[in-house]
């Protein structure tokens, strides 16, 4: 009488032990699925968007700082020359970049098109032209040189 149910219970007990394993695995599976979904969503769309926004903003700031730096590097006195050192962040959005002087403006050249941007550069009227480029991986200086036709501002690698 008491044996019958015990035996039946014994079979049921074994099943129940398995059900705990299945249940826990199911819970673990749900958690893993959830985490992987969230990681997928975050790194698939949200985080790259944030990185791009940060890169764009940082690129604009770096270029704006560079324009101000070139501005202040050119003395008001038309006879004066000089060399000024400039600090650039090594990378923007994990990529090296260049700052190129062309057509009376400074241009940031980056692999990501959205980060590349241009700001017009206006220097005293006796400055003939602005030329050269900075690479983010090299130390940057801006030199102001006297030539026969006027002053030339050059962005170049080097130390001052």
């Amino acid at each position: 009488m008491t044996r019958g149910p015990k035996r039946g219970g014994c079979g049921w007990d074994r099943d129940r032990a398995v059900s705990a394993v299945v249940g826990k695995s199911l819970e673990a599976g749900i958690v893993v699925l959830y985490i992987s979904t969230m990681v997928g969503v975050l790194y698939g769309g949200v985080v790259p968007e944030y990185q791009a926004t940060t890169g764009e903003e940082l690129g604009e700031r770096v270029l704006a700082e560079s324009v101000l730096e070139v501005q202040t590097a050119v003395p008001a006195d038309p006879e004066a020359t000089g060399t000024t050192r400039h600090q650039l962040p090594r990378t923007i959005d994990d990529e090296p970049y260049r700052i190129v002087a062309s057509n009376d403006s400074l241009r940031l050249v980056h692999d990501t098109a959205a980060i590349s941007t241009t700001i017009p550069l206006r220097l005293p009227s006796d400055v003939q032209r602005v030329e050269g480029e900075w690479r983010s991986s090299a130390p940057a200086v801006v030199t102001v040189e006297q030539t026969s036709s006027g002053r030339v501002v050059r962005l170049e690698a080097g130390s001052a």
Partner: protein, 251 residues
């Protein structure tokens, strides 16, 4: 046997189901809490990102444009921080393009709050204000009162140059003109006509004439540039049309 089990079995099953359900429920609750927290964080981050857009490109363009406008070699300045009134009146969009306005960077220049020139129509963006002097200069002609031989005249003005027109009567010869104690014009044969005379800008203008006979009012005319300077607030607004900026006022 079966009677003894039947009431037991559903109860034990129910208890087992309940336990399984409660773990599942707490799991769902935990996941919900985490998701809500994550969503909240993302909203905060999104807000923070919107706040970081401060428009550096338009700020730096406005700064350098205002620098160029008041610089000595600029389109409207006569010397550092001193603007010529007539140049300021005729400030054009081409002048603004010369100091950095482009199709992308719309620019407006205002003097004491009144817009005087613009490229595009900046509705917001960055404003740089600076104090400048506006110098207006006009030609003043005076006919001083002269009486008798060797007359002198003092005018309440300081200037570095005057234009002197001497037209003496035929009986009188003007041989010398002094400003202060300095001889500025001398001709023993007689001075007659229009002369440019340099004077000291640091003392009140005074002229003495050495004559052989009497001079009358109207025989000498003095013309000079009278300069007047006003302090104004020059405001340069630059709006970057390509990138959204953090609002701001325009003028």
């Amino acid at each position: 046997m079966s009677r003894g089990f039947e009431p037991n079995e559903p109860i034990s099953t129910l208890a087992g189901d309940d336990r399984g359900l409660s773990t599942l429920l707490s799991l769902v609750a935990a996941i919900t809490v985490v998701t809500i927290t994550l969503a909240g964080t993302m909203v905060i981050v999104e807000d923070a990102f919107r706040d970081t857009r401060r428009g550096d490109a338009e700020r730096v363009t406005a700064i350098q444009a205002s620098d160029r406008l008041v610089a000595a070699g600029g389109p409207i300045a006569v010397s550092q921080n001193v603007l010529a009134a007539d140049e300021l009146d005729s400030l054009s969009a081409a002048d603004l393009r010369q100091v950095g306005a482009t199709d992308r960077f719309e620019m407006a220049v205002a003097v004491d709050g009144d817009r005087i020139a613009a490229v595009g129509d900046p509705g917001g963006g960055h404003v740089v204000r600076r104090i400048a002097l506006v110098q207006s200069s006009e030609r003043v002609e005076r006919t001083p009162v002269l009486v008798g031989t060797d007359p002198g005249v003092t005018l309440p003005v300081r200037t570095d140059a005057v234009e002197l027109t001497i037209d003496p009567p035929s009986s009188t010869t003007v041989t010398e003109v002094r400003s202060g104690d300095r001889v500025v014009l001398a001709d023993g044969g007689g001075l007659e006509g229009t002369y440019d005379v340099l004077t000291s800008p640091y003392r009140t203008l005074s002229l003495e004439f050495e004559t052989t006979g009497p001079l009358d009012t109207g025989d000498v005319e003095i013309a000079y540039q009278s300069t007047d300077s006003d302090r104004v607030i020059l405001a340069v607004t630059v709006d970057d049309t390509e990138r959204a900026s953090g609002g701001g006022a325009s003028v």
